[in-house]
Structure formats: structure tokens, C-alpha cells
């Protein structure tokens, strides 16, 4: 491969763009934290260190994240074993249902939990009735509530990665172990577990980072319990901007430290590893009672997993203010959905989210594709750096990036590379774009790496110039990777709450903000209807990405 000058120039431009988008705003945050009205100062750092609430928030972030990892593993790993080792009745449907939490954007999951287990929630009321209690049986608030939501939405990481690793196990490994006289436990301990370490490490890291960045659950259910993401937003609301910067830096530090400690367990793009041989057959469960017990357990689990989706759907058909204390809604209506379509003011967020997510997705795919091509195919100098910058936003919580972008683009200073974008249409697509870069580029890089470079060379010897090669050979072959990257990016942007709450304007208010304000006005029906829309779009886009991906 010839390192052409043109590729080098394109690469350098891309590198600059990424530094400006990804690194520069973070550096500005760092600076703003140690600069007061009269120049450099450590006043805000001292303030941060002196306040016990700051330490509590930081500690809250850390321990809830660790606890989320444990909970998610305790649920996800046994499920993965159950479904990949045993042939359960309806196992196929079940193992698909198990991934369901993935189609709920964080905020939607949270409000579904509220409808279910909140003070006037469906399940809470049911329990209250059954036990004839005066009060609701529990309060969905504080760390417990946060952990409940985290466990529900994040066990999927463990489930998916461990399932993939188990599917990558060669059946002959089990046979070999058995022929060597190894018992079940020994096989598990000596053969299976070592094979699972990368998957477990990857899932733990993913869960930890997601929890640390989690905003929706602590924001809605936190009550008096603060974690750093919500603390940052509260501090900013108080007008203590510089302190918010210091907090942001502390959260970033925590995230980067975790990443550094768990380095090496980054989930690789093929978590299943090189798949050789055949995956072990699922074992039939021969004992009838055991079979029944397992099936009952699995199906009730599926019910629990599906409850949030169903509740959301149910609530979305309830007219405003009609469902109070009855176990099931007395009336149903389509009005909530009609509102979304007919009332231009309420329909606006849907339109907004659509175009914001589309712009961000297209831009993310374009940047990721360009980066992947110049780095992997043209092997330019600095290619690794480009890949690193594309992946960097993954290590930094969304709140941090939102604050960083809000800081960088709140003044107009073109000579310093800063433009006034906050309050305009462009800040949200920009924020979504930055947040989307890691997932998009991970998918696209994997696709480009898998392309045989001699296909390009073959096209060249056949007289095809660059554009024709790109159009006829490269892009068609990358289609599955592009679709996968785009669908992930679109879904994330479409349901985004954490950056939107900091950066949105009235004209660009996305669906998540509308859900929040509907809830504030107790208009739960419309909030739920929007939740259903988010859920359906996410589900559809995932399905599209998966299907096209495998067909291509």
C-alpha cells in the first residue's frame, strides 16, 4: 500500500478535527476549573476538597458502579450458562427476550420502572392490595432504586458477552476434558472459566463505565442520594460553574483510572474469539420435574424482563388523570398518540430527535469511515492516534462531554477555535456526534480491518480509479459494518438524555426532554407514548442493523 500524500493530508485534517472536537473541550474544562475572575486559582479545587457532599457524590458513583457490576454479573452469567448449555422449552424465544432491556433507552427504562414499582406503580399497588397495607410497600428511591435499574439494563452486557464466549467454546474441549477424567466442576474451573475471562473482564468494564456515566436513574430516583453525574448538573444549576468544572474533572479522573486498572479487558470486536470447531450441543434436561422448574423460572424471568415494555405500552393508552388507584386502567384511548402527531408543539420533539440523530449519525459514520480508511488501509502516520481519538469519548461519561462542549462553545473566539454554538441548533448534533464516534468507529474499524487489501489492488490493476473502487467494491463490502455502526449511533442519539439535558434549547428539545416535562406536568400518557416510540424505533433499527448485517 502506498502512503500517498493525499491520504496523509486527509489524515492530518481529520486528526486536527478530532483533537478540536474531542480533546480541546476537555482541556478547556480542566483550565476553567483552575481559573477565576482574577487569573489562576486553586480556590475551586479547595472548595471541592472541603465539601463533604462532593466526596459523598464521588464515593456514591464509585460504589454504585461496583455494585452494579456485581449485580449484573450475578444475573447475566448464570442466564448465559442456562441458555447456552441447556435445551429449555422455548429456549430460542427466551434467549432473544433476554436481550430486551437493550431496546429501552435509559430514560425510558427509568420511567417504565417508575410506572411499575414507583409509589403509585402497578406492582407496588398490587402488593399493597394483596398485603392490605396502609402505605406503599416500598419507596423507589435512593441507591437501591438506582441499582435495580442498573441491574435490569446492564446484566445484558454479561449475558451477551458470556454467551458469545460460550458459543465460541469448542465442543472437543469438553470431550477432551471428560476423556481425561475431569469432573464437571473441574472442567468448569480449569477449562471453561479461563476461556471466559476476557468476556467477563469486558462485560465488567462495560458495566462499570456505563454505571459511572449513568444519569437518568440517579436523576429520577436519586432523591437525596447524589452521584457525581447528577451532582455536576445540580452544581451548574446553582450557578457554581467553576466548581462544576472541578467535579467534571474528578469524574473523568475516576473513569480514566478505572479504564487504566481494567486495561486489557476492553471487549474486543469479536468477543467470541477465533471460532474453531463446533460449539457444544445444548444438553437436554432429562429430569421432568427439573425441566418444569427451569422452564417456569425462565418464563417468569422473561415476564419480569418484559414487564417494563408492557407497562409502558399500557400507560400510553391511558387518558390523562383517569387511572388512579385501580389495578388496571378503567379507560383506554389513542389520544396520547394522536397528540404526538396532531399537536405541532408536542410533535416537535419527535421531528427534532429524528433530524438531530440523523445528522449526528451520518457525520459519525463519515468520520469513522474516513478514519478507518486512512488508518487501516492507507496506513498513514498518526493512524493509531486517529483511532485512539475516535475511541476516547467512550472513556468519558456523557455528562462530562456535555459540560465540556457547553464550555468550549459558549463563547465566540474563532482565533481560539471556539464558536458560539450553545443555544443554537448545532450544539446537540455536535454533542451526539462526539458521543457516537466510539461505537460507530468500533463497528466500522472492524469492518475495514476484515477487508482484504488485495481487493483494492485487484481493482487498481483492472483500471478502476479510487472513486470507482470505493463505490463498487469498498462501500458495498462494508455495508454490514456501516449499517451496524449507523444503527447503534442512531439509537443512542435518538434516545439521548444525558447530554440533551445540559445542551438542549427550546427549539431543539428532543424526545427525552419532552418525556421529562410531560412527567413534570403529570401527563404520564404522553410520556409513555413517547417512550413507546423510542422503544419501537430502537428495536426496529437494531433489528434492521442486525438483519442487514448478517445478510450482507
Amino acid at each position: 500500500m502506498i502512503r500517498s500524500r493525499r491520504s496523509q493530508i486527509i489524515g492530518a485534517t481529520l486528526l486536527l478535527l478530532l483533537v478540536w472536537l474531542v480533546v480541546y473541550p476537555l482541556v478547556l474544562v480542566l483550565i476553567e476549573g483552575v481559573r477565576g475572575p482574577e487569573g489562576w486559582t486553586l480556590e475551586y479545587v479547595r472548595l471541592f476538597l472541603d465539601r463533604p457532599t462532593e466526596w459523598q457524590a464521588l464515593w456514591g458513583s464509585l460504589w454504585t458502579s461496583l455494585a452494579s457490576v456485581v449485580l449484573a454479573a450475578v444475573i447475566g452469567v448464570p442466564l448465559a450458562f442456562l441458555f447456552s448449555r441447556y435445551d429449555l422449552p422455548g429456549g430460542r424465544i427466551l434467549s432473544a427476550l433476554v436481550a430486551l432491556p437493550a431496546v429501552l433507552p435509559p430514560l425510558v427504562g427509568v420511567i417504565a420502572f417508575m410506572f411499575l414499582y414507583g409509589e403509585t406503580g402497578f406492582v407496588s399497588l398490587l402488593v399493597q392490595r394483596l398485603l392490605r397495607l396502609q402505605e406503599p410497600p416500598w419507596r423507589l428511591q435512593g441507591a437501591g432504586a438506582i441499582l435495580l435499574v442498573h441491574a435490569y439494563s446492564m446484566y445484558v452486557y454479561f449475558y451477551l458477552l458470556v454467551s458469545a464466549a460460550l458459543a465460541g467454546l469448542d465442543a472437543s474441549l469438553f470431550e477432551a476434558a471428560a476423556s481425561l477424567g475431569a469432573g464437571r466442576w473441574r472442567t468448569l474451573r480449569r477449562v471453561v472459566l479461563p476461556h471466559l475471562y476476557p468476556a467477563l473482564g469486558g462485560a465488567a468494564l462495560l458495566t462499570f463505565m456505563t454505571s459511572l456515566a449513568s444519569f437518568s436513574a440517579p436523576y429520577i430516583f436519586g432523591g437525596g442520594f447524589r452521584v457525581m453525574t447528577t451532582q455536576i448538573v445540580a452544581t451548574r444549576l446553582n450557578g457554581e460553574n467553576a466548581l462544576a468544572m472541578v467535579e467534571t474533572v474528578s469524574l473523568t479522573g475516576l473513569a480514566l483510572t478505572a479504564l487504566w486498572l481494567l486495561r486489557g479487558s476492553q471487549p474486543s470486536s469479536n468477543a467470541a474469539g477465533g471460532r474453531k470447531g463446533t460449539a457444544p450441543e445444548r444438553l437436554p434436561v432429562s429430569s421432568r420435574p427439573l425441566r418444569l422448574v427451569l422452564a417456569a423460572l425462565a418464563w417468569s424471568l422473561a415476564g419480569v424482563l418484559l414487564l417494563p415494555h408492557l407497562t409502558l405500552l399500557l400507560v400510553s393508552f391511558v387518558p390523562l388523570g383517569t387511572w388512579t388507584t385501580e389495578p388496571l386502567p378503567p379507560e383506554y384511548t389513542l389520544r396520547n398518540y394522536l397528540t404526538l402527531v396532531q399537536d405541532p408543539v408536542r410533535a416537535r420533539p419527535l421531528v427534532n430527535s429524528l433530524w438531530l440523530a440523523t445528522v449526528a449519525t451520518v457525520a459519525a459514520v463519515a468520520l469513522a469511515l474516513l478514519g478507518a480508511i486512512v488508518s487501516v488501509r492507507r496506513r498513514i502516520r498518526g493512524g493509531r492516534l486517529i483511532e485512539g481519538l475516535l475511541a476516547l469519548p467512550w472513556a468519558v461519561p456523557g455528562t462530562v462531554f456535555a459540560i465540556a462542549l457547553a464550555t468550549a462553545f459558549s463563547v465566540n473566539a474563532p482565533h481560539a477555535g471556539r464558536f458560539l454554538l450553545v443555544g443554537t441548533l448545532w450544539i446537540l448534533p455536535l454533542a451526539y456526534l462526539v458521543r457516537n464516534l466510539p461505537i460507530t468507529s468500533r463497528a466500522i474499524l472492524a469492518g475495514v480491518r476484515a477487508l482484504d487489501p488485495s481487493l483494492d489492488e485487484a481493482a487498481a490493476t483492472l483500471g478502476a480509479r479510487r472513486w470507482r473502487t470505493l463505490r463498487r467494491i469498498t462501500l458495498p463490502l462494508l455495508r454490514p459494518a456501516l449499517l451496524a455502526g449507523a444503527s447503534l449511533a442512531f439509537v443512542t442519539a435518538f434516545g439521548d438524555f444525558v447530554t440533551s439535558i445540559i445542551l438542549y434549547t427550546y427549539d431543539t428539545r428532543p424526545i427525552s426532554m419532552e418525556i421529562l416535562s410531560s412527567l413534570r406536568q403529570s401527563d404520564v400518557g404522553v410520556a409513555a407514548a413517547y417512550g413507546v416510540v423510542l422503544m419501537l424505533v430502537s428495536g426496529a433499527v437494531f433489528a434492521l442493523g442486525a438483519e442487514r448485517g448478517s445478510a450482507g
Binding site: A458, R472, I473
Partner: protein
Amino acid sequence: MSFLALDGLVKRYDGTAAVDGVSLALERGEMLALLGPSGSGKTTTLRLLAGFEIPDAGRVVVDGEDVTRTEPVARRFGMVFQHYALFPHLDVSENVAFGLESLGVRGEELGRRVAQALALVDLAGYERRRIAQLSGGQQQRVALARALAPEPRVLLLDEPLSNLDPTLRERTRREIRDLIRRVGITTVLVTHEQDEAFELGDRVAVLRQGRLEQVGAPDDLYASPANLFVGGFVGRGSTLPVTVLGTVERGVRVRIDEVEWDLERASAQPAPPPGPATMLVRPEALRLAQAGPGALPATVTGRRFVGPSALFTVLAESGSLIEVVAPPRAVKIGERVGVMPSRRAGGGIHLFPPESR
């Protein structure tokens, strides 16, 4: 004037030369095989020819035109890649049409020329097949058809048979040879298999560590290798440390272990100076005899059938392993024998400076 000339090509990677001053000239329609062990710079030479790499020194001239810096797109060289590099999302005819479309061939003419190219490789009727539905041999033929369809000036083949299973190789080798002969295209092919080079090349160029060791017709390389490397790489043979004692009538006298042999000297070679030397000896240039005067004492350690005769491995007392051709039942494994030059040994024994490998 030759049709294709490589003139002092040098290509370095990080300071070490992968191709180190290679000069070759091909007549129009000639087939040249680049033969060498893995890492000797064969692929790099081919990539310099195709234009994927630009040489640090030297030129590539085709039909009087210097193309050293011409982009691959404009070179009009066809190439068959080691793993074929067929476009997996296009069907057979779309693959073959790809290069023709670059030339602006359209419509009926395009269909006609695709059909022609597919007929050439005996794949008529496979137009709509997907690449993944083809066997390895068929894929290779599609790759050939695709490379040949735009009527390139030169055809380049990188290890064309290495991806086929062994039973298919010999047949495919003949098919490729006949096809290229029929088309009459100037061809450079790369291989590390001597049989392939010998059957496919009008001439064979032997590469070692980026340097050209010898170029010549297959039988010339076999009969008079320029050095021990070529001698050992081309054809079977055993190497033995010997001492040259001096010239005798029509040849030289050498001592191996404690035995003296008078060897007919191959006419082309200069008489080696007295002193230590390395002897390369072809298995058919030796015979097995009773232990006795002039016979090198050895023990039979192995036997392999090759057609009507067998290839015996014997271990000399000095520890050298020697291969000898003899009738299959001549001796038994473990038997003690003597080894002597056969009567018509002349061309099969070569003397080189010691340790010249």
C-alpha cells in the same frame, strides 16, 4: 529489444533490501518463473512490476515505455493474486466485466468479451454464480479470466497454485500453461515450488535474499547450477564436504572421508583449485555397490519409491546423509553398502567452494 525489462530494481523496507538489484528481460510472449524460498523477495518483485510499490532504484520498461512510476491503474498489467482477490459481492460475470468497464466497454461488446474470457477458462455457463459457490480451482480460473479480459500487456501470477489442494495442482498447472501459451501473453509468475517453476517457465529466475542467483532454462539450471544454493534449491541432491586433490585425465580427483573418487568434469565448469570444497551430487549420479576399494562405506537408513526405482538414503561414516537412486530391491534398510559415482555421473556432480551456501 526485449518486451519487458526489469532494470536494476531495488526495494528496501526499513533499510533492508527485499529486492536487491534485480535485472531481467523477457521477450514478447515469454513466460518467466521467479523461483525462491519464502522471504526471498518474489512477491515484492511482482508488486514492483504491478506498480503497488515504487522501487528505490531501477526501472521497469514495457514495450519501450518506462512505467516505473506509472500508477497501477494505468499500467495495463493483469494480475492474479495469491488468494485471488475476487470481489465476493459480484457474480462471476460481473467480476470479469469489471476491468472491461474501466476501458469503457459497454453493452453487447461487453457481454461478448466476458463470454469470450469465460470460455477461455472453460467456465461458460457460470456467469451468474456467486464467488462463494465456486470451488478453489474455479475461483482461480475466474481470477485468470478477470485478469486476461481487458487484454493486459503483461500477466502477473503470485503463487498461482498454492491455494489448491495437491491433487488438483498438477492438472491445473498444465491448464494454466496451455492457456497462457494460447493467449501468448508475456507472463511473470512467482512460486517457491521448483516443479511449478520448471513446468510453467520458459526460463526460471532463482532469487535468494532479494538477489538474482541465476536465470536460465530449467534444464540448464539443473545441469549447471551457478552455485551451491541454486544447485540445492533446484532438483534433489546431497551435499558433502570433500577435498579436491588435483586434476586427473578428463576430470578431478577428490577425497571423501577416506575414499578417493575420480570425477568427470562438467565441461562448462572451471577446474576447482585443490583444497577443501563442497560437492553437490544428484541421486542418479551415484550407485550402490559392495563395500570395497573406491566405495564410500555407508549404512542404508531409508527408502522411498519413485516410479520404477527407489530413492535410498544412506548414512556415511562421517555423518553425511546421501541420497542414491537404485532399483527398489537393491538393498535392505540397515545393510552396509558402498557408494560410488555411477558410470554416467558426469553432469550430476558439482564442486563448489567450501561452505559457499
